[in-house]
Symmetry: C2
Subunit: 339 residues, 2 copies
């Protein structure tokens, strides 16, 4: 049943030319008469022929010219998180715009990244983007020796010699701290993602440092696992204390929304009446009228655009050096903080 698919030889025979001619007809810059090309393309279309991308990349393997598979690997954690799904959607779009395909690998924990990369590498991907996770020295080395450019998105490179595009997490924490100090808050709490997650920690550190500079300290710290439910729980813990915080800074919007919903519907509190709330990311639902969450926005579009371009540039010119690019977050003032 499953027809073996049409090959360039079949088309060649049908068109009365050689296989080389067929190949050339499908190679834009090849030397072939316009008339011949047109004829071949017609025959090919009728037969439903499509060059086999796999074979194509096999064949290309020996020319230094462009041994590309046309596939970029992307490794992501927490895809169900709105921030990441938005990110992936954008990456996908931009990659496609440049003619690349995306092989997407989801992992549960950072520890799985190495394995994921290993699987991906079997496909001889042209490059790889790793979102909010880091790879081991060893894998970084392996990628380098195979000539596969790596781009870390929202994660420090730790001297791995790979490119990176990231939001300034520490600065973001500082912005939040500055704002809360200036508006005379006194019992300022923090809710992180996971206790030892690098991103969360950087936001926490920047936040705590700036608070210290203002003569304050972090009133309470909780961790909400980067989920809505985690935010709810953390919020509940925070406000169950005798002395309640008058401000909460969350390392992600999803958790901040958890705090907001928990406060309103389980604690009978509200922001900004009873406390101020600041999130991080600026996901779409942060701006919904009922939320109006004040947050630190990541310029996602520009970051993704840069990330994709940086990666592609390195794929196309392997001599290029790794680039690290930082983007500042911006405070988006909405209704969850008292002024």
């Amino acid at each position: 049943m499953a027809n073996r698919s049409v090959t360039s030889y079949d088309v060649a025979k049908a068109a009365g030319v050689s296989q080389s001619a067929v190949s050339r007809a499908f190679s834009p810059k090849a030397s072939i008469a316009a008339k011949t090309r047109k004829h071949i393309l017609n025959v090919a279309r009728e037969m439903g022929y499509q060059p086999n991308a796999i074979a194509r990349s096999m064949s290309a393997a020996r020319n230094a010219t462009h041994q590309r598979s046309g596939i970029v690997g992307v490794i992501v954690t927490r895809l169900q998180d709105p921030f990441f799904s938005e990110t992936i959607a954008l990456i996908s779009r931009r990659l496609q715009a440049h003619g690349w395909q995306m092989l997407l690998f989801t992992v549960e924990t950072e520890a799985e990244v190495d394995d994921a990369l290993n699987s991906l590498m079997q496909f001889k991907i042209d490059g790889v983007m790793i979102l909010s996770a880091i790879l081991s020295d060893q894998m970084a080395q392996a990628c380098k020796s195979q000539g596969i450019p790596v781009l870390l998105y929202n994660r420090d490179t730790d001297g791995l010699g790979v490119s990176s595009v990231q939001i300034e997490n520490r600065e973001g924490g500082k912005i939040a701290a500055d704002f809360l100090c200036e508006t005379s808050h006194e019992r300022i709490a923090f809710i992180g993602g996971e206790r030892d997650d690098a991103t969360s920690k950087a936001r926490e550190d920047g936040f705590a440092d700036r608070l210290a500079e203002a003569g304050q300290s972090v009133f309470l710290r909780e961790y909400g696992d980067y989920t809505f439910e985690g935010g709810v729980e953390a919020g509940l813990r925070l406000f169950s204390r005798h002395e309640k915080p008058d401000a909460v800074f969350c390392a992600s919007d999803v958790m901040a929304l958890g705090v907001l919903h928990a406060a309103r519907h389980q604690l009978g509190l509200d922001a900004p009446k009873d406390f101020s709330l600041i999130g991080f990311d600026d996901i779409p639902s942060a701006s919904w009228p009922g939320h109006a969450l004040t947050t630190i926005r990541q310029p996602v579009r520009r970051m993704i655009q840069d990330a994709v371009e940086l990666l592609i540039d390195r794929i196309e010119d392997t001599e290029l050096d790794a680039v690290i690019r930082h983007f500042p977050g911006t405070l988006i003032l909405r209704d969850t903080v008292r002024l």
Copy 2:
């Protein structure tokens, strides 16, 4: 710079065996002495050798045995929609659990599906899943002739002879209608996705039919483009009328949440006090305390599980017939309807 990667020949030489032996060492069921295999695997590991999946699938191309690339294509629209991102996350997991990789293609409109599939097919994917979109007869034919199983998720197959896993959209609409009639609502409005989207239409039709059976009719119809903002706009239009609806059924939760936020914060109305509101999908944020949206739940986990298994079964046994599987939606009663 870019080291040409290690091949099975390199390993063979280093291990003092033939290339065949190396290949066999990496093929679980091949006939090779345990000792030899172990030795080869050791050498390979030291050299950082990984079989090239591309070449592997090239080579396999001639044996009927298993000409697999190990890649499943997935085509999706509106990836930023929480419902789809959750779906993709689940698909990815399940595919990986079965040892498959996912080549993800995002499209803006259904019209792009054919092109997307064409791109994907160049990679000789083993199968393809298309989410909430349909493909042309022609492409369906092309897939069949190339022996690539297709699975449509949440879309009718229209006699295309491909597999499908879908929620019962008409039934879902009926459930909503039944409930609103039984609770004596009288001015029942509907908000669809796009006016001619098949899914939206099926929900609308089931809804309208059942309303008619109960001697009612759809009070007002609006369309919200499946987005939050669209829901807001549609809600605003609905409630700007002199005679306001006392119930609204939305073809998706995201739109329903738009209506809810608009009502509360721009219209000074609330559900269920001033009107009842029912969504569709049961996305995570529908259950957030501040929303507590009554909705028609899709059993996403089971649907995805079935979808992936159905597709893989057909990949592994091409003789299998296409299967169409329907899942019922369930009314999840929360706080946005008056009883």
